[in-house]
C-alpha cells in the first residue's frame, strides 16, 4: 500500500489532535497532584519527623492543634495524630498497659504511682513510609507518595474501599464520615510547602516533635540520628517508616 500525501496529512492531523486531547486530559485523570507552590520544589526535600519520647509530657496540645488546623472531626476515634500512654512493669515488658483517652486530646488523668514501673508517652501519626502498604494497596492510586516523601490522599479520587485502613500496620487511617474517603496525617503538607512547621510540631511545648528534612545537609537531624539510639515503630513491617523515635521502649507497638 502506498501512502499519499493526503493520507499522511489526515493521519498526522488525527495524531496531533489526539495527542493534544490526551495532553489536555492528563492532569484531570492523573490522581494525586499535590498542592503546587511556586516557591517550593518538592524534589529538593525528603520529609521525616523526629519524636523524642523522653520529652513528651502527654499534654495533648499536638492532638488539639492537629484537629484544629486540619479540620479533623472533633470526636473520639478520628485522629490524624494521637498520644498513647504506656505503663510497663519491670518484669513484664511483653504486656504493657496502654491507654489513650480520646487520643490524649485532653491530656491524661493521673493513674500510676511512682515506683510501680515505668510510664511514658508515645505520640503517633502517619509514618509516611517509603514503602507504604497503604499506597501499595489503593486500587485507584488515590493514596500516593509525593516527590518529597509525604503520603497523601486525593479525596476527589478515593473510592472509600477502606483497603488502605486495613493495610496500615499502625492504625493511622480512618474513613472521614463527612467525605466517606480515607483520611490521615498529611504532615501538614499545606504548611511545610510554605516553609512552616506542621501544627503538632509548632505547638509542642517541650520540642518533643521535630520536623526533619533528610535532603537538607544542614538539618540537625543528621547529627541527631548519628549520635542517638533511634527506632521506628514495628520495624519488622519493613515499611521504611520516616517517623524516627528517640529512646523508644521495646514494649511499644
Amino acid at each position: 500500500m502506498t501512502t499519499t500525501r493526503r493520507d499522511f496529512l489526515i493521519a498526522g492531523g488525527r495524531l496531533l489532535v489526539m495527542t493534544a486531547a490526551t495532553q489536555a486530559a492528563l492532569p484531570h485523570v492523573l490522581a494525586g497532584t499535590p498542592e503546587r507552590v511556586d516557591t517550593y520544589t518538592a524534589a529538593e526535600h525528603w520529609w521525616a519527623m523526629l519524636i523524642d519520647i523522653q520529652k513528651c509530657i502527654g499534654c495533648g496540645t499536638c492532638v488539639k492543634a492537629c484537629k484544629d488546623e486540619n479540620g479533623v472531626l472533633n470526636e473520639p476515634y478520628y485522629f490524624r495524630t494521637w498520644v498513647e500512654r504506656y505503663h510497663v512493669k519491670a518484669t513484664d515488658a511483653e504486656h504493657p498497659i496502654v491507654d489513650s483517652p480520646n487520643g490524649g486530646y485532653d491530656g491524661f488523668p493521673e493513674a500510676y504511682a511512682d515506683g510501680e514501673g515505668k510510664t511514658f508517652f508515645v505520640p503517633k501519626l502517619c509514618n509516611h513510609c517509603t514503602d507504604s502498604p497503604c499506597t501499595q494497596v489503593c486500587p485507584v492510586g488515590a493514596t500516593f507518595t509525593t516527590a518529597d516523601g509525604v503520603v497523601l490522599v486525593d479525596k476527589d479520587y478515593c473510592v472509600g474501599c477502606r483497603y488502605c485502613v486495613q493495610a496500615c500496620p499502625y492504625g493511622c487511617r480512618y474513613i472521614d464520615p463527612r467525605t466517606h474517603t480515607a483520611d490521615k496525617c498529611t504532615l501538614c503538607y499545606h504548611r511545610i510547602t510554605k516553609g512552616l512547621l506542621p501544627a503538632c510540631v509548632e505547638v509542642c511545648p517541650t520540642g518533643s516533635r521535630q520536623l526533619a528534612d533528610l535532603k537538607n545537609p544542614n538539618d540537625p537531624i543528621h547529627e541527631f540520628l548519628r549520635t542517638h539510639p533511634i527506632q521506628v515503630l514495628k520495624p519488622q513491617m519493613a515499611t521504611g517508616s520516616k517517623i524516627y523515635y528517640h529512646a523508644l521502649d521495646g514494649s511499644v507497638r
Partner: protein, 397 residues
Amino acid sequence: MPGVDGFMYPNEMELQWSVLIVLYPFITGLVAGAFILASLERVFNVEAVKPTYRLALLTALAFMLVAPLPLQLHLGHPLRSYEMLLTPSPTSAMAMFGYVYLWYLMVVLVVEIWLDYRKDLVLARRQATGLTRAMYGVLTLGSDNISPASLRIDDRVGRIVTIIGIPSAFLLHGYVGFIFGSVKANPWWSTPLMPIVFLFSAIVSGIAMVMLLYIVLTKLRRAPLDMRCVDTMARYLFYAFLVDFSLEMLDLVHRIYEADESFRTLDFMLKTRLFMPHVVIQIILGTLVPLTALALTQVVRLSAKVRTSLYVGAGLLTLVGIFAMRWNVVIGGQLFSKSFLGYTTYKLEFVHHEGLLPAILVMLLPFAILGVLIKVLPPWPTETRQVEQERAPAAHV
C-alpha cells in the same frame, strides 16, 4: 467504649469491612466452585455429573452477576468505582478485580453458556412466537446455523473455553484470597495459604450448592433423581472438603506451633469472641458434622432415600460452614487491635446500607436470577426432549 476490651489504636474502634464483604468471597467462591464442577464433565469427561453441567454453569452465572454488588454497596463512593477500571493502580491487588471479573464473566462464563445453548436457542426461536421469539433471536446473536459441522465447532470451542475457564476460576477465587492473604499488617489474614484455602473452600461450597439445587429442583419438577450423579457429586464434595479441612488445620496447627507475637492475641480471640462462629459453627457444625455424614455414605451401604437426606443435610451444613469461614476471616480479622493489646466487637445492624437486610437481599438475588435463567435457558433439555420423543410414538398409535 462499650464492646472494647484492652487497648485499641484510637482509629481502630470502627470496623471497616462489614457483612457485605463477608458475602463477597462467599459469592465468588460459589461461582468458582460451581464452574469447576461443570468443568469436570466437560474437560475431564466425568459422565456421572453430566445432568448438573448446565445447572452448574447457570448457578455460576447467577452468582457471578451479583458478585460485585456487595462491594459496590460497601464503597464510600460507589459512583467512582469505574476508576478502578480506568486508572487502576498497578500495585494494588484490589484494582485487578474488575479485570478478573470481566474476563471471567465475559470471556469464560457467558461464552461457554452461549456455545452450549446455541442449538437450543435456535430451536427455541423456531418454535416461539412474538416477543419470546424476538428474545431468543437476540440471544442467538443472529447465528442460526445448527448443522452438525457447526455444532462440532461449538463443541470444540466450548471445550477450549472450559480449559481456559479452569485456571480462570482458580484465578478468580485464589485472587480473592490474595486480597486478604497479602495484608502483612494483619496476622490473622497474612498467610500464603489464604488463596489456596479460599480456593478449596470455594470448590467445596460450589459443589454443595449445585448438589442441593439439583436435588431440590429435581424434587420440585417431580423428576427422578439421578442417584449416580448425586453420589458422584457427594464423593467429590467429600474429597474437596477433606483437602480444604486439612489445609485449614495446617494453618491452625502452624500458628499454634510457631506461636509468634500475634499468637496470644489470636488464641484468646479464638477462645472468646470467635469461639462460637469459628470453633462451634465453622469447625464442628460446618465441617466435622458434614464430613462425618459424607464419610458415612462412603463407607456404609445406605438406601437412596437415606443417602439423599444425608447429602441434603451435609450440603446445607457445608454452606453454613463455608459462610462461617468467610465471616471468621473477614470479621475475625478486624476484632483485634494491630497493637495486639485489645479487642473490639462487630455490631451488625439490620436496616442499614451495610446491615443484615441488604446482605439478605444480596444473598437472595442470585436465586431470583437463577430462576429467570432456568426459565429462559432450561438446564434439562435432554430430559424434556426424551419425554417428547416418548410421547411422539404414542400419539401415532
